[in-house]
Amino acid sequence: MMLRAREQRRENDRNKEKEVVMQPSIWGRLPDELLERIIALLPLRTILALRPTCRRFSCLLSSPAFLSLLHAHNSLAFLLLSHPQFSHRCLPLYDPAADGWRSVPLPPSSTSGSASPSSLLLLSAASGLLLFALGRSSLLVANLLTNASKVLPLPTYSAAPSSAALVSLPSRSNSTHGYKIFLPCASDDDVFVYDSASVAWTRFPGFEPVLGRRNPHQGGAFFDGSLYFTTPEPFSTVGFDLRNGAWDVGVAPPMPEDLAFVRLVGGCSGSGEDHLYLVGGVGRDGISRSLKLWELVGRKEERKGRAWEEIGRLPEMMCRKFMSVCYHNYSHVNCLWHEGLVCICCTTWPEVLFFKVSRGTWHWLPRCPMLQEKWSCGFRWFSFVPDLFALV
């Protein structure tokens, strides 16, 4: 029975082959212009997979005419894992669509003038761009899809940067994206903002409660044109306007009570709307008994009408696991947005806890198989959504 089925399938395959062999000359009649229109409708994943077909196919993604035909929807989105013990040449990448892990090669890290490659530390990711600290004196912005990268000398010479926030900004005139980099300065109270449109750094005053030593792990959550930060206890939200460098302490309503730790996450829904989420450990005396998620609701113009609205609570069993993996040391916790998910990560634990906003459900992303057993801390996660239109 099985054998016959296989025979039948082989027969079908043979017929299919015949069909394919009979058609090529006809398909070859398709004018180039129409063929490109058709290819542009394929998912980005498929277009990339077809690059080896011929030179013309391979060059399509760098042709402005072809790019203008591509639809804005993107079929690629990954989580990147960075760890100090990974080589500087590639990073593991989790593909949710295939539920699998692959390795992504990093851009070459040798700066001009020096023969040996400098160390490359991933600092931030936004809309297809990755921001690395390159050695002690530069940053590297890279688009892995277009193989484009750019080295930016740091505006001051101090210690190598350990944190910086990359923010992607859609262009007003076309479908490309520019970016800004928010760089806190370790040595003094200033911050620097790099703007890809003006190709220049601007210095702004810092804000001690946010950037001071008592308040580590502040990446900043992008929402409504500003980066949002939290202060140490008593917790509050502070906004940094990327356009004019102004710090705003009244930007969000007071936080819910009895919080042991807080993190902000800026997210963008499928319809392109910005959202700001608050992840908080709830409990007294600095010990979290539960973990909740709030969303900032209300319009920006009417500040009094704004409120933190609870949208999720971590089930008790999962909460126990989470609190035990971060040893109740909440400085290890960092949060990020990834394609409709609020991800709650712990630098000391290789799994990721995430909340599906649309469904209100909680899940764990299992450990990456590329990790060695003995590596126990230093895990940092980034949302990587490849984008052809993100210009370096």
């Binding site: 058609q23 398909w27 009649r29 394929l42 498929t46 077909t53 593909d95």
Partner: protein, 168 residues
């Protein structure tokens, strides 16, 4: 190919209401097709613009130099399906059938739709053709489009190394 002139009324309702306005489309071989104005302007941006430029439809004859009679007949037949159905399901199915049965004709219909700027029908047809490529290997696509691989072995390996991370 027949040289007699044919009349095809697009849309059933047009026969019942003779007061409905019509125009004449002329295929490259001189065949004339009488079509309902609403039905054709619903599909073709080029004809919509032409009518507004001419300031009316009285005795309007539109020569379509690049479109032969059988192709135009097929295109109008598909427009008819599209006009009669609110969703795209039925016309997608018809385009799929045509692609499988007469690929040559389908490619000509696509070119004609592009020529008269029947944007939504054109996009729909392109999608049906694009689906054909989904799941094909590089070798199959080369064979299908009659393309020769112009890469060296080293170049192929490099391309693979460059973006293997993006797909399985």
């Amino acid at each position: 190919m027949s040289t007699e002139s044919k009349e095809i009324l697009v849309g059933e309702s047009s026969q019942a209401k003779p007061e409905k306005k019509t125009i004449v489309l002329m295929a490259s071989d001189g065949d004339e097709f009488v079509v309902d104005v609403d039905d054709i302007t619903n599909q073709s941006e080029m004809i919509r613009n032409l009518i507004s430029d001419m300031g009316g439809t009285d005795g309007l004859q539109v020569p379509l130099l690049n479109v032969t009679a059988p192709v135009l007949a097929k295109l109008l037949e598909l427009f008819n399906v599209s006009n009669k159905n609110d969703d795209d399901e039925e016309v997608t199915q018809k385009v799929k059938e045509l692609m499988e049965a007469e690929l040559n004709m389908m490619i000509d219909v696509l070119g004609a739709a592009n020529y008269i700027e029947a944007t939504s029908f054109f996009d729909l047809s392109c999608k049906v053709l694009a689906d054909k490529f989904k799941g094909m290997s590089v070798e199959e696509v080369r064979e299908f489009l009659n393309i020769e691989c112009d890469f060296t072995e080293e170049e192929l390996q490099q391309i693979h190394a460059e973006n293997a991370w993006a797909f399985d």
